[in-house]
Amino acid sequence: MLQSDTPGLERTRMRVTRGRLTSRLAVALLAAVGAIAAVPTARSLTNGDPAPACSAPLLDGNRSVNLAEYRGQVVYLDFWASWCGPCRESFPFMNELQRDLADRGLQILAVSVDKTAEDARRFLARYPAQFTVALDVAAACPSAFQLQGMPSSYIIDKGGAVRAVHAGFRNRDRAEIRQQLLDLLGGGAK
């Protein structure tokens, strides 16, 4: 019988099981989605919270820098990594801030979460930094700050309180960040 190799009855039974298997998988997917979407996330820092303690070794030289050292100065704390795309845009911006506002007391601290100094240096070769760069391989500071994205930047006032949080970096954030810093540094827009 050339028409089909297997008798009709057996073929239908196979089709039914296959159909039920796939629909069961569809149900499994929806269950998985439900479970995943509901995973709770830690509360992130908001304005007014005191900045957590954070210290990390400098990229060059063997000294370590501590956020508390800058009490009395306005600090722009930025967490970055060589693998983070938007960081390429934020570095030229931070150079501008350093050039324009450093003499008015702004302290920029860029903490890399790279696993090796070499990764961080290779990034800096393409995107030079004229501000202080530290390397926190153990990622103690990012955990303390509970970053919401990469890069993340925090504006910390002279009293050590967080006054602005920026998760990610978009070009349109530039004006807002500059204005927030100017407000804290005192003296209107230069």
Binding site: R121, R122, L124, A125, P128, A129, Q130
Partner: protein, 330 residues
């Protein structure tokens, strides 16, 4: 028409892919098989060299030509020996006492020199060139103090009034020399020219002041050897540089030998005497001009040089007269 697996001819597809692959490969190779091209030349009284990784000789040579032309432009513009240079024009006015308006580039160099003057408590001084009248290479004995006092009266950035773009010399007999800044500034500019032309890997070396364009193509850093101040062929330290610049100063570069003692060509604007502190110092910084002035200021600071370098906070290495080595790279 049964199909036998092995009989199937490779089919147009495979030949097509091979042809395209090789064409693209050559294009890619051409664009990425970078070889190191070296362009030695002489400028500002020192041996210089531009090293560039490029895919073709033409692109490398074009960039090197542009960079060398810029270095030579700056050498001519700020040369102490040519009478058609900006330095000569300024010094004609300084010799007679009077005022001169300078171009924008010279103005920013003067601003930069003013910043160095403040950060070195007055030791980094463009007007200390006058002291060279007495410290010529053939001198065999120390100058007497009143000769020095007469010269020191004609030295001092504070005696010059600088309001961009006007430079005013209150009385005759002064002199300006951009020597301490121009070479490192030229290195920065040459590196920028090549970086903006799309070069990612290479360096500029103007007589030991080095500015990195970018690491080797495989990402490894340049190994820069710092010459040992006393042993010609030896190296005091080797640094790995991905980026930025490194400059070196020392009492061994040009010096005068008097009664068996070596006197550096770096003269203190306070005492009029050659400095005697560090034997050699190298400083790294993002800009070669900053690294260069930091080494010069460290030498001028004499025994406070090491401490001043710690204050500045740039990575550095030094060797003192007792051949002790210190600094972040030690």
């Amino acid at each position: 028409m049964p199909v036998k697996l092995d009989v199937i001819p490779a089919g147009a597809g495979i030949q097509y892919l091979a042809a395209t692959a090789s064409a693209v490969h050559n294009a890619a190779e051409e664009l990425t098989m970078v070889t190191l091209y070296r362009y030695p030349f002489a400028a500002m009284g020192s041996r210089c060299e531009i090293r560039l990784y490029a895919s073709s000789e033409e692109t490398a040579a074009a960039c090197a030509r542009a960079a060398i032309d810029d270095v030579l432009r700056l050498e001519t513009k700020y040369s102490r020996y040519r009478d058609d240079s900006v330095t000569a024009a300024i010094n004609r006015v300084a010799q007679a006492g009077g005022a001169i308006d300078v171009d924008a580039e010279t103005a920013t160099l003067l601003d930069y020199a003013a910043a160095c003057y403040e950060q070195s408590d007055g030791l980094f001084d463009l007007t200390s060139g006058v002291l060279r009248e007495v410290w010529s290479a053939d001198r065999r004995e120390l100058p007497d103090t009143d000769t020095l006092q007469r010269l020191l009266a004609r030295v001092g950035w504070s005696k010059v009034r600088w309001q961009r773009p006007r430079l005013v010399f209150g009385f005759p007999g002064m002199e300006i020399d951009f020597g301490g800044v121009v070479k490192e500034y030229a290195a920065d500019r040459a590196a920028t020219l090549c970086a903006e032309a799309g070069f990612r890997h290479g360096l500029i070396d103007l007589g030991g002041d080095i500015k990195i364009i970018g690491p080797h193509p495989d990402g490894t850093p340049w190994a820069v050897g710092i010459q040992h101040p006393r042993i010609k062929e030896a190296v005091m330290a080797t640094l790995d540089l991905f980026e930025g610049a490194i400059a070196t100063s020392g009492d061994y570069e040009r010096f005068v030998e008097i009664d068996g003692r070596r006197y550096s060509h770096i003269l203190s604007p306070r005492t009029g005497m050659p400095v005697c502190g560090l034997a050699g110092v190298s400083v790294a910084a993002p800009e070669c001009v900053v690294a260069g002035s930091a080494t010069t200021i460290a030498m001028l600071m004499e025994d406070r040089g090491a401490q001043w370098l710690d204050e500045v906070g740039l990575p550095h290495v030094w060797m003192d007269q007792q051949l002790r080595v210190g600094g972040t790279y030690a």
